[in-house]
Each structure stands twice: as structure tokens, then as C-alpha cells.
Symmetry: C2
Subunit: 344 residues, 2 copies
Amino acid sequence: MPKATIDDVADLAGVSIKTVSRVINREPNVRQSTREKVDRAITKLRYRPNQSARSLASHRSRLIVLVYDDPGEYEVPSGGFVIRMQQGALRACKSANFNLLIHPCNYRDKHVTDELQGLIERTRPDGVVLAAPLSNMPRLVNAIAATNTPLVRLSPGRSKGQEFAVGTDDRRVCAEMTRHLASLGHSRIAFITGHRNHKAVANRFLGYKDGLRQSDLDFDESLVAAGDNSLRSGHAAAEKLLALDPRPTAIFAANDDMAAGVIHVANRLGIDIPGELSVAGFDDGALAQQIYPALTTVRQPLSAMAEHASAALIDEAGKPQIERETEVIPATLKIRESTGPAPA
Amino acid sequence: MPKATIDDVADLAGVSIKTVSRVINREPNVRQSTREKVDRAITKLRYRPNQSARSLASHRSRLIVLVYDDPGEYEVPSGGFVIRMQQGALRACKSANFNLLIHPCNYRDKHVTDELQGLIERTRPDGVVLAAPLSNMPRLVNAIAATNTPLVRLSPGRSKGQEFAVGTDDRRVCAEMTRHLASLGHSRIAFITGHRNHKAVANRFLGYKDGLRQSDLDFDESLVAAGDNSLRSGHAAAEKLLALDPRPTAIFAANDDMAAGVIHVANRLGIDIPGELSVAGFDDGALAQQIYPALTTVRQPLSAMAEHASAALIDEAGKPQIERETEVIPATLKIRESTGPAPA
DNA sequence: GTGAAAGCGCTAACAC
DNA sequence: GTGTTAGCGCTTTCAC
């Protein structure tokens, strides 16, 4: 039995295909009894509108593309970050009967912009969600903008662009975490910075400095180590920081992967956590609860962010693009076992 | 400037649209000079074929759908598993200019089959990759089969169905890991079983028993604890096993998440790893290297599996479905720091 | 409130 | 080798 088409439904219901179209698109101006007749025919024939045909005729694809950084083969993909964005985007898509296309890409690659434009122009998605750190790369943002496809940026750091963006209050919450560590008696609180192209992550460093100031602690350059968000870079940073004399009694890393690196190194050096060293991260992905001791961290509302971003695109699909303010979804502290009072 | 269509290209190149179509589809029987003329026009106009139009006319969507289990909100999604499948599927898609739609779904939900069929019949993908444990649920397999869409199952455990499937040699490699532990002097080797609906995971338990036998060790029921692949269940299982007297000197968990749970509990109890207890897992996701000590585990070639599965679907797209044997991609041991000689 | 006709941008089948 | 003609299954426009 070949798949039923809109014509089959129209025939069975005894109406025109236009009326069937009205029913499946929930358009007004259909008599209730007609609607029911059509619905019965649809159910009976197990009819499902062909999305390609709809897209071709309506110029709306019911497709959202999620674009994020692909660190490439050389690095163990921790994935926690990506999975949570996907979850959020999928939640928004599901409830609106949209579908999600995922597209990791490597911004170091020369051809990314061509690749992205190709993808967009072939599939004509109703919207693109661009995740950090790609969201603060003008080259990519402009390439997508050039296709005239609605775009929402995730965690753009600063909101220069006029597109809608969704982020969290990295700076504020990092000040809060720093004050929390200070309130535990820590005065030598080190910080590991993150990915250099990632503006939102840079804001975390600013928040750390705010927190120090608010706690009447002096900022000490030697307590800062540079990382790049990878576990590996966390190792290196920890080795540097834990060799200091006197040692910091707390290390706040700009993400969880690097915090995990600190825990490794501390364990290897026989430094007790949290007895001798408190460790805090940022993200609260699965990792935070998988490692030992469970990581005190900042819960970044990634999935909510991606959901709002996608929902905005879905709502706007077809309509003229609405001007919106950048939306900020607050992050919160998750105090677990890796932090404690400063050693006496 | 409105988007260029095939007609624009044909006009500019001075050929018919059919010739342009031949060129973009890499069909034979086009003179080299004509091909070049068309290519120049395509480049000049930045023409990209509209996928909806192509799909509608050709009944091929250049879309692969990856379907996997969504543990739901209540559980921390570790995601390592999913990310690696996605990576593999994306690799296959990218090289063939296909796109990947992801579709996590909850098999406990009554409406999954309807939902899946709806998705498939609307989007008409060229193929579906169904991941374990969904791949060994007849309800789901049959629902997809009913849509007449080519299907490849991942790690189906047993290959009852006639569809193509890709898996790994769980049983063989688990015997190998068990022998490895035995060769380190362990005689009380415990095992934590996994997800009850996951046939491939059940094979791991069989492999464990094989390994014991091959090492002349007796199987001891009391050294087996039941888990469900979650970190949490690893905690519970470890608490049970580590309360035993005499204690096992090695614990082999059917996946990495549960192994991480064992490491937690051992740490909390002050049991040294690997000095007093060796711990091994299965998967080798990011987690294995993030936790301390780095986890000895089995490297499951998930991304290669998903890549082969997707590539098979892409190759077959349009062609009659080829009969194939289940493909087995071997797994390998990754010996790291969490295992060592049995204590004297 | 409903329907007829045109057409979205491509590929298939067949001609030449 | 290349072109012509008909659709693919819907939505749009406009008529009634």
C-alpha cells in the first residue's frame, strides 16, 4: 500500500485538498464538522504530510540546526556540554513538531563558512542556534547572517550583534563562587582561565576578580594559570599552581574538565581534597558527579538556554524577525564535596 | 538578490536544466566542456540545490536519523556514549553530503512507536540507525521496519532480525579482560551486570564467565551484583560487593559509569585503587580518563560502529536493500591506572 | 467556509 | 550527449 497523500484524504473526506491543508495547518475558517470529517480520514489512512512537499511550497522546513565547536579527533570529547544543549533544543523542537539537525564544525578549518552556508542553503532551516565559542566569532556569525536565516547565539559573551542571544550571568555567579570560597576561610584562591576565544568564559575570570575584591582579597597574578577548557590543560595548570609556595588552598577552574584535571594532579601528589585543597569548577555536566570527590561547581543552565534559543526561532518561523534583548538565564552554585574550610 | 535556482544556472550556462541536474548529480554522459560551463555558472551564482525540491522529486532525502535511548530528565546524562555514536554517524554523513537528524526517545513511553513512525513518514530519511538497547526491542524494530525505511541496528546482541547490524565482540573482549585480571593474580574477581534490556551488555557477563573458566577460576554467584548502567547503580553494587568478607580484589563493571561508582565508594571507604582493589569498566568514553585513577576499560568502537552503520545506509540509499552479515568491529583492552597486581 | 488553479525547484522517463 | 515534458505533494493566491 503506497503512502497516503493529501488527495487520498480529500477524497475520503469528500472535501478539497485545500480544506485538508487547512486542517493539518490548524488554520481558522473550517467548520467544526468538516474538521472532524477530515481528521477521521487522516486517522483512517494514517496520513502524514510529506515534509519535503510542505517545505518546497511554504518555504518553511520545520528544521532547526544546532552548530557547535568540534574539537576534532585529537581530543577526547567530553560531550557533556553538547549533550545538554541538544537536550534543550530537542525539547523545544519536539513540542512544536520540528526536527533538529546537528552540525559540529571546526572553526580552525578554512572552509567552515562555506560548509555552513552550503548546509543552510540546501536544507533551508527555519533557524540556526550557534553555540559558544563559535557564537563570538564574527566570521561565522556573519556567514550565517548572510544567508538570511534567523540566528540565535548562545553565550556570546558580549552582545555586540543585533541578533537575539541567550546566555547566563557568568560574571555574577563566579563572583558568588569566589565569595563562597573566601567565606570558607580561603585567602589564596587560584583561578584557571579557559578557552581564549570564548568570551563568556573570559567573563568568569572577571567574576573571580570581582569576588576577590568583594571579599577584600588582593588579586595575585601568580595565582592565575591559563587553560583551554580541556582536561589536559587542567593538568598543566594544576601542576603549576600546586608547585607554588605557599600553595593556594583553593583552585577555581573556569570549567569542570579543567577542575577534573586539578583533582587528578592533587590525588597524584597526595594532596587531600577538600582537606588541604578545595576545588571548584563550572558547568555541572555529568562529570561533576562522576568524579571523586563530587565537584563543587556552577550549574550552567545550558539546556534551558538552548531550549529558549530554539523556541524563539520556532516561534518566529515565518514571521518577521522580532527585536529582542539578550536573554540571561541565571546560573547557580552547586556545593558538593570538593570544597571545604581552608586548612588551619 | 533571491536565491539562484536551477533555471538560472541553465540560462547562464546556456544549457537545459536537465543538463545542470546531470552535473550536480554527477551523472555520466555529459561532455567535459559542458560540465565545466555548468560548474562555472554554479560557482558564479553560488547556486545550491534546494534539498526539499530534490527530495520531493527523487524520493531521497539525504537524511539519516539516529535513534537512541533517552534516559529522561531524572538521570544525569553522561552522554559519552551518545556523543561518540553521533561523531561516527556525522563522519559518514559529512563525506556523502548527507545530514543527520538525532532522535532520542524513551522506550518506556507508550507513544514511541507512533512518534518514530511519524518522524520517519514526515521526513522520509534514507535510513535509520537504531542504537542499543532500543536495537533489541522488537516493538521498535518492527515499527521502523513497517515504514519500509532501511534500518541498521547497533549492538543488537543477538542478530535475530534480517536487517543489517553492526556490533562489537563484547563477549570475547570481556573474557580477555577477565583473563587479564586473573593474570595479575586476582582470584576474587567480581562483576557488575548492566541494563536488563541490553543484550550486548548481557554478553559481557557471559564473557566474564568465559574468562573465569579459561583462567581456571570458579564462578561465584555472590561476586555478582546487578546494575543498570547508571553511576548510581554502580554505587549500590559496590557497597554490596565491598562489604563482602573476604572482599573481592577486583571489580569488573559492565560499563564505565558503574565503574566510576565503584571508585567513588572505594575512595569513601578508604580502599586504595589499585593497591587494594582493581577496577575495570567498559566503553572508554571521556569519563575513563577524567576520573582518578584513570580507568582500565574496554574500548568499545562506538564511533566506528555508527560510522559503518550510517555509511551502509548511505551507500544503499535508492538501491535495493543488500543482504549483509552482521558486522563485528573488535573491541580492545585499555589498560590504565585503576588495575594492578592483586594484593598479597 | 470552501475550492480551483498555479507553482515551489527539482528529477524521471523518454525523446531526439 | 542533451532537451522536453510531466509530475513529486504540498501551500499560495484568489475566486466564490
